[in-house]
Each structure stands twice: as C-alpha cells, then as structure tokens.
C-alpha cells in the first residue's frame, strides 16, 4: 500500500486525568488500506479509533483527514464525521427508528438528499448485508449480528471515504461473529479504507494490509499481518500473541 495518505495522526497525545492513554502516536492510513489495530485491553486502541472522528478530543498533536486538519467543533467537524463512517461495539442503532429509517436518517437529514433516492440506496445496502426483509422492524427485534450489519449499512449509506470499526464483534454471541466479519471482509476486498480495532486475529490475518499493535498507549509495532503474526519484533507483542494464540 503506497497510495496517498487519507488519515494521518502525528504526535497525538491524550490523557484521561493522570492516565496517558495515547502517547505520541503517529499513524498514517493510505486510501484503500485496511489497518487492524490490536492490543491488550486498556492499551488505547479504542481511544485511537474514536479520536479519528473526534468522538474523543485529543490534548495535543494533529489529525488530518483527506488533507484537512480535524476541526474542533461545529459544521466543519460535522462534515468530516459525515465522511467517516463509524461502527460501534454496542451497535448504537437508533432505538426509536425502524431499520430502514436508521439507514436513511443520515443521508436525508445531514446530506439533505432526496428521500426517494436514499430509500433505494438504503434498501440495496440492506440487501447487501442480508437484512432487507427486516427493514420495517425496530432494532430491538433483531439479533446482535443483524443489528451490527445494519449499523454497517447505516455507515455505508453516507458513502464515507473511510470506515472506523471499534471492536465491532466484541459484544456478539460467537455464532454471529462470522456474519459481521464476512461483510467487513467483502468491504475490505472492494477497497474501502478501514481502521478496525478488534480481537479477531483471523480477520487481521486474512483481511488486513497492516497490523498495528498497541500497548500502554503506545504504538509498539506495525507490520504486514503475515510478518507480524509469524515474527513479532517486540517483546510486548510476542507476549500478547503467546497469550491469545495458544488456545
């Protein structure tokens, strides 16, 4: 992946009180690249992911998206967020809206697109993630895996330049993880720029262009997945992998 950089973090620092959760983080994600962020709990990987669309403000450093520095507030920030899709661990579908309304809301209300046009796109996205026949149901009537696939469709409806995934399968029953990863894998194949925080090593192996390993707020090492899993350089990464890959 040597394409032009879409997301660039430079010298990013963040504290939660006395806790230094992001320490001088530098990361560049190229257009079309799939970067998987792994690491132990509390290593700062979710914070990193959320900082990219400023759901977590950072204390110092710069983040640029598509050549533009992240705005602090207001309209410019909202516009940036509309170009970066986000998929959450707990799905966060709008509980009082139907599945179809969930997918249509952003394009219609934020982008002011025509509802008829959006409806067609929304239905084809729901078709793609296999939920089209549930379009009139409410989120609580769907399984976790189905809800997460709707959440991906909702993010895609905005036709984003990049997608952020914050542990998208961590809240799912084991038998539903596959259906969500399948959708993510097909997106990765199609060239969507993705930053994925996950514990799914299988996904990291077969879908990532690059694996980034974080520990204690630092970006410890990054490498192509084959190389990282076969031959981790840092002691910290070797230790982490030995704990999760032996079972």
């Amino acid at each position: 992946m040597t394409g032009e950089a879409l997301i660039v973090l430079e010298n990013v620092n963040k504290w939660f009180g006395p806790l230094h959760v992001l320490q001088d983080v530098d990361l560049s994600v190229a257009r079309g690249e799939v970067v998987v962020v792994i690491g132990p709990s509390g290593s700062g990987k979710s914070t990193l992911c959320r900082a990219i669309n400023r759901l977590e403000p950072i204390d110092s450093g710069t983040i640029t998206f598509d050549g533009q520095p992240l705005a602090a507030e207001g309209r410019a920030l909202a516009r940036l967020r509309s170009e970066v899709g986000m998929v959450f661990q707990s799905f966060n579908l709008f509980a009082h809206k139907t599945i179809l309304q969930n997918v249509m809301l952003g394009p219609v209300k934020v982008r002011k697109e025509k509802p008829a046009v959006v409806r067609e796109r929304a239905m084809s996205l729901l078709e793609r993630v296999g939920i089209a026949n549930q379009a009139e149901k409410y989120p609580a009537q769907l399984s976790g895996g189905q809800q997460q696939r709707v959440a991906i469709a909702r993010a895609l409806a905005m036709q984003p330049k990049a997608l952020l995934f914050d542990e998208p399968t961590s809240a799912l029953d084991p038998e539903m993880v596959g259906e969500v990863l399948d959708v993510m894998t097909s997106l990765a194949r199609e060239g969507m720029t993705m930053v994925v925080v996950t514990h799914e090593m299988g996904f990291a192996r077969h879908a990532a262009n690059r694996v980034v390993f974080m520990a204690d707020g630092q970006l410890v090492e990054q490498a192509a997945p084959e190389e990282f899993f076969a031959n981790p350089k840092s002691e910290r990464a070797r230790d982490f992998l030995s704990k999760i890959l032996t079972h």
Binding site: E83, A95, H96
Partner: protein, 224 residues
Amino acid sequence: MDVFSDPYNVDVYVTGFLWILKLTAASTVGALVLGVLLAAMRVSPVPVLRGFGAAWVNVFRNTPLTLIIFFCYFGLFSTLGFSVSDEIDLNNYWLGVIGLSVYTAAFVCEAIRSGINTVPAGQAEAARAIGMSFRQTLTMIVLPQAGRAVVAPLGSIFIALSKNATIVGTIGLMESSNAMKELINANGDAVIPIFLVFAGTFAVVLIPAGYGFGWLANRLAVKR
C-alpha cells in the same frame, strides 16, 4: 341535590369547569414548549444557557404557585401595566396561563432532563458520528427517546396542573373553586353535596386520564 336543579347554579358549575379546562389546555401547551426548551438549555454545551435553565428551575420550582399567580396579577398587570385583553375575565385568564406555564415548565424541564439521562450515550454518539449537529442530535435522537421515557411522570405533572389551575380563582377568575365558593355561600344547607360534586368532577376526569397516561407510556416505550 336541589342546588343543581337551578339552571343558574348549573351554569356557574359548567362555566367554572370550562375555565379549568381552558386553563389546563393552554398551560399544558405553554409548559410543554417552555419545559422542552429549558431542558435543551440545561443539556446544551453553552454555559450561559445551562445557567439560565438552572436558574429558571430553581426560582419557579421553589416559589409557591399562589405567589406566582399573585405576581402575574399585582406585579405584571397592576404595577407594570402588562395587559393581554381589555376584557377582565380574559385578561385574568391569560395572566393565569402565564403563571401556570412558567411554574409547570420547571417541573416539565426536570422530568425531561431525567428522561434524557435514560437515553444511552451511544445513541448521541452514533448521531454525531453520522455528522448530525448538536441540535439535530437533540431533536431527532435524544429528545424523542427521552420524551417517550417520561410520559408517565409528565402525565402526573399535567394532572397536578389541572388542579393547580384552581389557584387562578384567587385573582378573580370564576373557575371551579370560585364557583364552588359562590354556590356554598348561596346554599349554606348543601355544603357537602356541592363539595362532592366539584371534587367528583375532578376525579371522574382525572382518574381515567391517569390510566390513559399509563397506557400511553407503555405503548410509546422504546424497546432496547
């Protein structure tokens, strides 16, 4: 029940409750609009608005309604010359609506604010993540869910409002409590029946209203 066979007395009774109905209807609208605005202020990122909302709640929630209604009449109208209508009844009615609205809005605001706390933070995050502004997030995602969560407590507030409306009688409007007083003054031998009819009228309307709000709360509840 001889009292209520006299058409004049029936007219006093009906007029009294019509005023209560009108006071309740207008003040419900006023308190709801004001209360939602105040709740929005109290959760807004602007400190001045948050302060204004908090001050409103603290002032009006902790002042007796009688004093507020008196102030509307003796302060706003008599002293400051604020008048809504040349017709004395209508003027008193609107002064009453103002007093009831600003008072009840404080309670509506707090109910809605507690409703906002029942909406998981992830809902607002998801809304912001697709590019919604603060106002869009609040009006399209958070408030609709918060409102559904507080239908039952709002119902109690509006039931209380309908009874509080009798306080407007203190500034001369011939609403139900004034009507009752007049009937009792003229019919000293029928105090108990008169009292029971007036109290019963409130109960007959408000008990079903309470169940109605309960039913509505269940129906509108957001499933999570």
